[in-house]
């Protein structure tokens, strides 16, 4: 501790400088966020969608179940901006409710699978004895195409909205667990963990207080992609009839109706599809942006050539959630950039030719 006595004026100056420094740091961070186009686009899109989902049903002059048979199967018009379905229900209102349902399910699944997946990943990374077993189980679960696993679970549990959430959570837990384990393992190897261990800290304390705070960013990024994935998978489930049961509606069930009516009304499929795509795009952009924000190196790495020998080659590809192979049969086609961006890092010696390292 500095024992030199500061005059009151010096103290004041120091404080001010400290505050100015902090403010500049905050401004720099904000600048980084604002300059990140993916992040901004994703965030804006998602905010808009959430606002629409929350406020939309309220603002609409129609209710979700309001039948106006005389209006059935009309296209976009002044009365019904997005058209009606075969029961005369206003499509826009249905879409607002559907968006609400889909987003709510997606959010629930994301939060639950993040919690459970993080727990499993942390435990697996810290306690090597259970690591093998846990990861094999996770690999096994991930070997399934997620749709099939989800349908199986829904058939097992029965068609209720809570079961959709449970089933999807189970499907996505391994995805989070793998990422968390991977990140936690590298943190565990840091010296400060040894230091804290030798001080006698309990395992729980170490995990929660030291490991977890350091792996927050991959968790957040992965959670965003899981959200996107969950929305698609739920939509597919409901589309197949194995998801949200009627009369509830999610984007997927509206799409199912639309498909059945596709010859009579193009607007149902088009608008429901567009909203779903918008959701997925928004979330993927957000995830990409967040990832670039937390790890700026990855943005530059993509165009770097001539890797030094043994250097990590980032493979943007399907499946292979970070961590070890075996490649999983669960590489879903339904997952957009989520897959492409859950980058598998492959150590190769293949590119050892180039002389210049990076």
């Amino acid at each position: 501790m500095d024992t030199t006595r500061h005059s009151p004026l010096d103290e004041q100056q120091l404080e001010e400088r400290g505050r100015a420094l902090a403010r500049r740091q905050r401004e720099r961070n904000l600048r980084r966020i604002l300059d990140n186009p993916m992040l901004m686009i994703g965030a804006v899109v998602m905010v808009v969608l959430i606002v629409v989902a929350v406020v939309g049903p309220w603002l609409s002059p129609y209710t979700q179940f309001q039948l106006q048979i005389e209006d059935k199967l009309t296209g976009p018009s002044a009365r019904h901006w997005l058209g009606t379905d075969d029961f005369g229900r206003d499509l826009a209102t249905r879409l607002f409710h559907g968006l609400r349902t889909s987003l709510a399910i997606g959010l629930a699944v994301t939060v639950l699978s993040a919690l459970a997946g993080t727990a499993i990943g942390l435990v697996s990374a810290y306690f090597r004895r259970v690591d093998g077993v846990l990861m094999r189980v996770m690999d096994g679960l991930m070997s399934f195409p997620s749709i099939l696993l989800a349908i199986c679970l829904m058939a097992a549990f029965g068609a209720k909205i809570e079961n959709v959430i449970i089933a999807l959570t189970i499907v996505f837990i391994p995805h989070m667990a793998r990422v968390v384990r991977s990140a936690a393992v590298s943190v565990n190897e840091e010296m400060f963990i040894d230091a804290v261990q030798s001080q006698g800290a309990s395992s729980l304390r170490i995990i929660l207080r030291h490991v977890l705070p350091n792996i927050v960013s991959p968790i957040v990024v992965q959670a965003t992609f899981i959200f996107a994935d969950a929305i698609i998978t739920e939509a597919s489930l409901s589309f197949l009839g194995a998801g949200v049961p009627p009369p509830g509606a999610s984007l997927g069930s509206i799409l199912q109706d639309g498909k059945a009516l596709i010859f009579a009304s193009w607007w149902i499929v088009v608008f429901a599809g567009l909203i779903t795509i918008l959701c997925v795009f928004g979330l993927n952009f957000l995830g990409d942006g967040l990832r670039d924000h937390f790890d700026p190196r990855s943005g530059k790495r993509r165009t770097v050539a001539g890797l030094a020998k043994g250097q990590i080659l980032r493979v943007v590809g399907v499946g292979g959630r970070s961590g070890s192979t075996p490649p999983d049969a669960g590489s879903q086609a339904e997952t957009p950039a989520a897959q492409a961006n859950a980058e598998a890092e492959i150590h190769t010696d293949v590119k050892g030719r180039a002389g210049h390292g990076e």
Binding site: R136, D139, G140, L141, S143, F144, P145, S146, I147, L148, L149, C152, L153, A155, A156, F157, G158, I232, S236, F239, L240, G241, A242, L255, G258, K259, I262, W266, V269, T276, I277, V280, R302, T303, A305, L307, L313, V315, V316, G317, V318, G319, G320, P326, P327, D328, A329, S331, Q332, A333, E334, P336, A337, Q339, A340, T348, D349, V350, R353, A354
Partner: protein
Amino acid sequence: MVTFILRRVLSLIPVLLTVFVVVFLILHLAPGSPASVMLGEEATQEDIAALNAELGLDRPLVAQFLSWSGGALTGDLGTSYFLGMPVTQAIVEHISPTFGLAVIAEIIAIVIAIPLGVLAARRRGSHTDRTILAGSLLGISVPSFLLALFLLLIFGVWLRWLPVGGYEPLSSGFTVWLAYLILPAVALAAMQAALVTRMCRSSMIDVLQVEYIALARAKGLKESKVLFKHALRNGFLPVLTVLGQGLGALITGAVVTETIFTIPGLGTLVVNSIMHRDFPVVQGVVLFTTVVFVLVNLLVDILYGVLDPRISVTAKK
């Protein structure tokens, strides 16, 4: 080399085992046995119990699992409850549409993606490159079943160029067969193509930087020869990996896409069987699909090791 292969094969066994067990458990622990589904709501408890006993469903789970796995290893996957035929036969009857779909989709993906990837790498940073990258981002982001729906709408409903659903076997004529499969194949291929384009591009960028390419150009080789004979050959390996892994994506995508286009393939089979609690079929198909996928990945791994001996020699953790 042999040890390399053996080790890869052995590492698959735990995964396969887990898959078996998980499928089995999910279906068997579900409330509502096939018997009750088959007999309907009117059935009495005795009837259900009797049918369960007949189907062998009242034995302890472990016994059921063992007998099923034992049969599976010898090629007997049991008999379907609903279709009245051996599971193996059901699979065989439903496999050609799915296989055809997968093949067409892979071909489309390759034909589109590799030239685009090479082009983008060659013109890195240019407008061409950026357009291609943007396009690939689009391809990755649009879920294939939505793409399928839109394609159906545009080509099947509005333009009426192609049929809206159904399937004709290859024996009915190539054009007819293709007409039924092309839309779903494109829907599935889009994501694959996008991923392969990106992979090819980044791999080619890396390779093109290397000295021997400069040497080839200095020698006066035609640019196309430089690109394809030297650069692509060396940069192809990661692309191969993505293609192999993409097979899994195709299988998944096929499930919903087949339903959209009413194609009687494995996807439709498994979805319907799950709804009907037709355990043997579900188990059989999931098993089959997973094994195929795992084998393809194994093949890719081995090919990788063969094409670049350094990989098989490097000690793997």
